[in-house]
């Protein structure tokens, strides 16, 4: 199920602008890896290179290697559509399809994959919504529009939609930044449960959140405006927050930045 990600020498461009440069890291399976760093340092950009979502932006391209176990995502002949089915993604702003019901939102990925059998879909809906801690709140209104839920519920619906296709890796870009503390805690608990099945990568600006949910933490930084972002260090979360090996990391975490 869960797979190891091994990135080496990865750079990503927006047209001629280099957003991130020469990033190498290993992300362990069945663990939570948090990305932290100042705004604009390329966390989202890097995250999106891990499921080939970066290249959907016009003019954007990627150099380097991303190995998922022993398959290079950027190898010749690799279908980005297939990659995105194995590496799921949850976005910063909850984005359930407004034209679909809650039910249809959850099974959207399965329908794309050609699954049509109603009993199977029903089962996946229940399982995924339970997995996303949303089942009890919506089980009586599965046919109501997904956009009619609260923000926190919508985000959990998006998580249900992402895990319904049983991806091997789950990428989350600031999944809690638009949520209240209670929904945030619900999603953090959920991340803790999901990590037994998936490899999880989460971007967050919340240090406590990184410390609470992640096993390993990567700190990104950029040398200056217009410069590409770089990976400063990646280590066990405990070490990063207690005794990081780079001074900049400590400055950032303790708020003595810039």
């Amino acid at each position: 199920m869960a797979k190891r990600i091994d990135v080496s020498g990865l750079s990503a461009y927006y047209g001629s602008f280099k957003g991130i440069e020469d990033i190498s890291m290993t992300i362990e399976p069945r663990s939570v890896t948090a990305f932290i760093g100042p705004s604009g340092c390329g966390k989202s950009t890097f995250l999106r290179t891990l499921n080939r979502m970066h290249e959907v932006i016009p003019g954007a391209r990627v150099e380097g290697k991303v190995m998922l176990d022993d398959e290079n995502l950027y190898g010749p002949g690799v279908d980005p559509v297939a990659v995105r089915r194995t590496v799921g993604m949850v976005f910063q702003r909850p984005n359930p399809f407004p034209t679909m019901s809650i039910y249809d939102n959850v099974v959207a990925g399965l329908r794309l994959a050609g699954v049509r059998k109603k009993p199977l879909l029903d089962e996946v809906v229940e399982k995924s919504l339970k997995g996303a801690n949303l089942w009890n709140e919506v089980k009586d209104r599965l046919n109501k529009p997904g956009a009619g839920l609260s923000g926190g519920q919508q985000q959990r619906l998006c998580i249900a939609r992402a895990i319904a296709v049983e991806p091997q890796v789950l990428l989350m870009d600031e999944p809690c930044s638009a949520l209240d503390p209670i929904s945030t805690l619900a999603i953090e608990d959920l991340i803790g449960e999901l990590k037994s099945r998936f490899t999880i990568v989460i971007v967050t600006h919340n240090m406590q959140q990184a410390a609470r949910v992640s096993d390993r933490t990567a700190f990104f930084n950029l040398a200056g405006v217009g410069q590409p972002g770089r990976l400063v260090e990646i280590d066990d979360t405990q070490r990063i927050f207690s005794n990081p090996s780079v001074q900049a990391t400590e400055d950032y975490i303790s708020g003595r930045f810039g």
């Binding site: 984005n95 399809f97 407004p98 034209t99 679909m100 994959a113 529009p145 956009a147 998006c158 939609r161």
Partner: protein, 369 residues
């Protein structure tokens, strides 16, 4: 906040004086804390209520009032105009309807100025509906395809000129389309007509009667094609704008689930654009139903209701009015107006149906996302 909540001094009548005293601090039994002395005065000045003892009143703001009056006025004006048109048509039409010896809905011939007058709209209704249906069947799918191509497939350098071209086509006057239809389309549709007669003749609808095969295709089918070309630009232009509005975040959500580009469009763009495409189609349909000159130049009219759509002949409401109005006498004019009223009613019905379709899925429209 753990500081005691500031309250208005009791002994002075500030702007909120009576209101505040009744259930402000008094109810909580706190000792009043002095506000900065100048604050109530400043507030009072800002709200224009210096020294007033009553609770603040809603103020009239001139911009709001003007805007309300203007928008309400135009709304009412629109309704009045619609009602005036309907009343005028109904009143004018009633004269001929009472003297008609035929049946208004089922009679084929159109002789309102004969004695006794005989006329009916069967041929016109059939011709109008059939040509509009053919036009929509061709134009809507093609327009949606072009709109998607412009909004989601073509590289920007190509999309811009195409979009511009389409907008330009929407501005071509219908008489120009009519001339082009009569002088170019009709002669060039010979081959297609013969081919359809051979291969689709079994449908009966898309066939020619034996007697007329080989004659110029001045028929309802050709009219339908011409109308399709005429309404294509407006449907394309509106659909394109709607598709462009499809939120990027939902497109990305679909892509991240492993959708191909077409699947992404089917998941996130088409459902989002559906109400817009329906509205666009209604605009096009309105033009197709009411088109006069282009139909009049292409069709060779007759008062036969012919189920062979490839046979010359037939007619539409608008074409019939244009052709007959000039030499019609009193009763003839009144009868033509009655047919115009029917066109008006048909358009209203079709629009109402479209509204209904859109409203039925309103909560899934994405408008509140």
């Amino acid at each position: 906040m753990d500081t005691p909540s500031p309250t208005v001094p009791q002994d002075r009548d500030g702007p909120y004086g009576p209101h505040q005293t009744s259930h402000g601090h008094a109810a909580h039994g706190q000792t009043p804390v002095e506000l900065p002395a100048e604050l109530p005065a400043a507030l009072a000045e800002a709200t224009g209520q210096r020294g007033v003892t009553a609770p603040p009143k809603a103020r009239n703001r001139i911009g709001d009032t003007l805007f309300l009056a203007a928008s309400r006025g135009s709304g009412i004006l629109l309704l009045v105009i619609m009602a005036a048109i309907a009343v005028f048509l109904g009143w004018q039409a009633s004269k001929s309807l009472s003297s008609n010896t035929g049946h208004f809905f089922t009679t084929f011939e159109w002789n309102p100025d004969a004695t006794p007058p005989v006329f009916g709209i069967a041929v016109l209704l059939f011709g109008t509906v059939v040509s509009a249906v053919i036009a929509m069947a061709i134009a809507v799918p093609v327009a949606v395809g072009i709109a998607l191509f412009i909004s989601h497939y073509a590289p920007r350098r190509l999309a811009q000129p195409i979009a511009y071209l389409v907008d330009l086509l929407a501005a071509v006057p219908s008489i120009v389309y009519g001339l082009w239809g009569a002088l170019f389309l009709v002669p060039h549709l010979d081959g297609l007509t013969a081919w359809m007669n051979d291969y689709l003749g079994w449908t009966h609808l898309l066939s020619q009667s034996d007697g007329v095969s080989g004659s110029a295709p001045r028929n309802l089918f050709t009219v339908g094609i011409l109308l399709a070309i005429m309404i294509l630009p407006i449907i394309t232009a509106v659909s394109r704008e709607v598709f462009k509005q499809a939120p990027r975040m939902h497109e990305e959500a679909a892509l991240a689930l492993g959708a191909t580009r077409w699947e992404m469009i089917r998941t996130a763009v088409l459902p989002f654009g559906r109400p817009g495409v329906i509205s666009a189609s209604m605009l096009g349909l309105g033009r197709a139903l009411g088109e006069t000159m282009a139909v009049a130049t292409v069709l060779s009219p007759s008062d036969k209701l012919n189920l062979h759509l490839l046979d010359p002949g037939g007619g539409t409401f608008a074409q019939n009015i244009a052709a007959k109005f000039g030499e019609a006498f009193d009763n003839g004019r009144s009868a033509l107006i009655a047919s115009g009223l029917m066109l008006f009613v048909i358009t209203l019905l079709v629009n109402a149906a479209a509204r209904l379709i859109i409203a039925r899925r309103k909560e899934f429209s994405g408008a509140n996302a």
